[in-house]
């Protein structure tokens, strides 16, 4: 009693499709977060045959948030792979593929479902390079939609980033703007180190300008476009074009523009207080700064971008200027990113501080039910309250 079409017709047709020759788009576009990541993935898939995506429902469905929308249609089911429903399996096989020279980008459907893969990520992925004394690299990216605010059910709104940041060997990052989302996903893929790429799912629909010539693959696509244009002009005299199709794998390093994964960025300059945020709270922090400005307070917003490594220099430089610091994240504050920053800032800026470093974040409770999640999340009001407390010292 089997249906006539039990096998996935959609998957098989996609599998038969040959990778598209369509050029990777360049130029500046206004894109929502999710589409910016999609464009970054497209650039990487188009720029390096060794890049492949794997995960649950990322093919014909395009992922439950549509972040991989259209990618299987363009690149085929060998490059954009719907896996069995097994996170440990996804990460474990990704490690094997990476050891074989591939660059797997794994999607974990929701934050709360990363834990079946926790063992592979923390005991295996994080330690391969170290154990092999640098002989082995495992360039695996793990994309995780995380954070709350979308009215979801249990296990769909968590912020487990510090569980990974506490593990040496992993890079843990989270973009705060569509532009960074686009650039950072590419740098994560080109990074020889494993990267946990936390996507603020509550911001997926928020738009921003994205320069598609940014990022290692975007830059390459833009350069190729230029070469192609030049050759088009010169086509009559010189019809040779092969150079465009010869592709060295892209890898990033300090030397060739490995920037967003290592450095925080000042998202808004200010003089009276430093507000440190990342991922979903960057937008909140910017709104707080806006609101505070109307009351005459000048807030500098630092977007960390990366939690591990933590760019404390940028934070310290800002605090030396403003003398006050508030850290905002959705994850519980207890033993969290804010605690780390507070300790570091206290050590390095003790004599510059006018107030203790304050934290605004989640409580030491499981993520609560949707109806009261806004009381749990660091809201505009709660951040403003901390800003007032800091200024009152």
């Amino acid at each position: 009693m089997s249906a006539p079409t039990t096998s996935s017709t959609s998957t098989s047709s996609a599998a038969g499709r040959t990778p598209a020759a369509e050029p990777v788009p360049t130029g500046v576009q206004t894109l929502p977060f999710a589409k910016a990541i999609n464009a970054g993935l497209r650039a990487a898939l188009g720029g390096d045959d060794k890049v492949l995506l794997m995960g649950e429902d990322i093919g014909p469905l395009g992922g439950v948030f549509r972040v991989t929308d259209g990618l299987q249609a363009s690149f085929g089911a060998d490059r954009v792979v719907d896996t069995p429903l097994a996170e440990s399996g996804i990460l474990g096989t990704a490690i094997g593929l990476a050891l074989r020279g591939y660059r797997p980008v794994c999607e974990i459907q929701f934050d709360g479902f990363i834990f079946p893969a926790f063992d592979q990520i923390t005991t295996q992925l994080a330690k391969m390079h170290y154990r092999s004394r640098g002989r082995l690299t495992v360039p695996v990216v793990v994309r995780v939609p995380y954070g709350g605010g979308i009215g979801a059910v249990e296990h769909h709104s968590e912020s487990p980033e510090v569980l990974f940041a506490h593990t040496p060997g992993l890079r843990v990052v989270s973009p705060g703007s569509p532009q960074d989302a686009y650039t950072m996903i590419q740098e994560a893929i080109a990074s020889p180190d494993p990267v946990l790429f936390f996507e603020p799912k509550g911001r997926y629909w928020e738009k921003g300008a994205v320069d598609l010539s940014e990022g290692p693959y975007g830059r390459r696509a833009a350069e190729q476009q230029e070469t192609a244009d030049v050759q088009d002009v010169a086509a009559d005299e010189q019809p040779v074009r092969e150079s465009i199709t010869v592709r060295e794998p892209v890898t990033v390093s300090e030397a060739n523009g490995f920037s967003t994964l290592n450095t925080a960025v000042v998202a808004r300059p200010g003089t009276d207080l430093t507000l440190v945020a990342y991922g979903p709270t960057v937008a909140t922090a910017l709104k707080v700064a806006e609101a505070a400005a109307s009351e005459g307070t000048s807030i500098e917003v630092v977007d960390l971008r990366s939690i591990s490594p933590l760019d404390t220099d940028t934070v310290v430089e800002s605090v030396r200027k403003t003398h006050r610091c508030v850290v905002v994240h959705e994850a519980p504050t207890f033993l969290g990113t804010g605690a780390e920053i507070a300790a570091t800032v206290t050590e390095r800026c003790f004599y510059d501080l006018e107030a203790p470093v304050l934290r605004v974040g989640g409580f030491h409770t499981p993520y609560p039910v949707a109806k009261i999640e806004h009381e749990y999340l660091p809201s505009l009001d709660r951040v403003l309250d901390a800003v007032d407390r800091s200024l009152a010292f």
Binding site: T6, S7, L61, G151, V153, I372
Partner: protein, 385 residues
């Protein structure tokens, strides 16, 4: 890497045909293979068959109502069971009162057979509760959203039942079995394989009931397995059966046999109920992106409720009076679901600090106290945000 797109059917043999007692047209099926199962349903008379039909109609009504409530913005999300009524009612009705069920998140039909008020379940989907029903009162554990996890809990629970000497005593009031429900996608999780292993080597009184509804969100069963799922049991030494999941009598009989084996000390059974998820995976899902109309039509013709209806009619066990009574009952259920869901208020924000630990915890107490004073600072000012 080649995508695993080979259809599972290619590797199926005649032996893999599911146990069936009623054909899609409502006629009874008698063959050598189903003889022992037929025997297990011989005591089901008109009243019992009507009861199974009533169960299925009521949970479908609940399902329709919940889906509508989600569309009206009253629920954050809903996971419909549409199409899986026979698998759930058949297996659920085979349970003895003392048996314990460990569901995933779509087992509304099983919940109904356990006497749980279906409105309780919607608290979870409305976002006012993480699923805080009294699982011991109903021998129906909390829903589990992390795929496959609870198959191990069920197995461990069954190991406990066995240690407590509640297996093989011969006393039908005492002997206890455990059943766990999961989907075809879940069989790919390590936890489910580990559950099969633990169940087998411990001879645990557990039934692992897989509802193969053909899809794990957008991914067909052929992406999970190259062989029919029920065959996975064999490698672990767990007796396994494949049953027509849209045939409520077959589901009842196969589960009843497995539960009895478990209660009597015969150990675990793996059941694959071949069924179909007729609706979306959840209300956030769009099935048109991954499946065809032809496939949906094929399965609509195998609707489990229509099948039992045809049987009741053919056997003269159904009439207008019964139909009207059931219609009134399901109308009343729908009304009650609507009103009770709309009446569910927002929990107090401070309740998020309750029950994080069973004993005092300084971090939580401190944060809770801070939150209280923070909240009251707004009311003190006479307003709220």
């Amino acid at each position: 890497m080649t995508a695993p797109i080979e259809p599972t059917e290619a590797l199926q043999t005649d032996e893999d045909a599911p146990v069936q007692l009623v054909a899609p047209d409502g006629s009874r099926v008698s063959d050598d293979r189903n003889a022992p199962y037929r025997a297990r349903t011989s005591h089901l008379g008109t009243e019992e068959l009507r009861g199974l039909y009533r169960d299925m109609v009521l949970v479908r009504r609940f399902d329709t109502e919940a889906t509508a409530l989600q569309r009206q913005g009253e629920l954050a999300l809903f996971a419909p069971l549409l199409g899986q009524e026979a698998a759930q009612i058949g297996s659920g009705r085979a349970l003895a009162p003392q048996d314990v069920a460990f569901p995933s998140y779509r087992e509304h039909g099983v919940a109904h057979t356990r006497g749980l008020d279906l409105a309780e379940i919607l608290r979870l989907f409305r976002g006012v509760d993480h699923g805080g029903w009294d699982s011991e009162a109903h021998n129906f554990h909390l829903y589990t959203l992390v795929i496959g996890s609870h198959s191990l809990h069920a197995t461990g629970y069954a190991m406990g039942v066995q240690r407590d000497g509640l297996v093989g005593t011969g006393d039908p009031e005492r002997d206890t079995a455990v059943i766990t429900y999961f989907g075809d996608g879940a069989t790919s999780q390590g936890d489910v394989s580990e559950a099969l292993g633990f169940a087998a080597v411990n001879n645990a009184p557990v039934v692992l009931f897989c509802q193969n509804n053909q899809w794990a969100i957008s991914v067909p069963t052929s992406t999970q397995s190259r062989v029919p799922l029920y065959r996975r049991g064999a490698g672990f030494g767990v007796p396994s059966v494949r049953v027509d999941g849209n045939d409520v009598l077959a589901c009842y009989a196969v589960t009843a046999e497995a539960l009895e084996r478990a209660r009597s000390g015969g150990g675990p059974t793996f059941i694959e109920a071949v069924t179909y998820r007729m609706g979306a995976h959840t209300t956030s899902d769009d099935p048109t992106r991954y499946r065809t109309r032809a496939e949906e039509d094929y399965w609509r013709d195998r609707d489990p409720i229509a099948r039992l209806h045809a049987l009741l009619v053919a056997e003269g066990a159904w009439d207008d009076e019964a139909a009207a009574a059931l219609e009134a009952e399901s109308e009343a259920l729908g009304e009650r679901i609507r009103t009770s869901v709309r009446a569910l208020g927002k929990p107090a924000a401070a309740s998020m600090f309750d029950h994080v630990y069973a004993t005092d915890h300084q971090v939580v107490s401190r944060e809770s106290a801070w939150f209280e004073s923070y909240e009251s600072s707004f009311t003190d000012q006479g307003g709220h945000r």
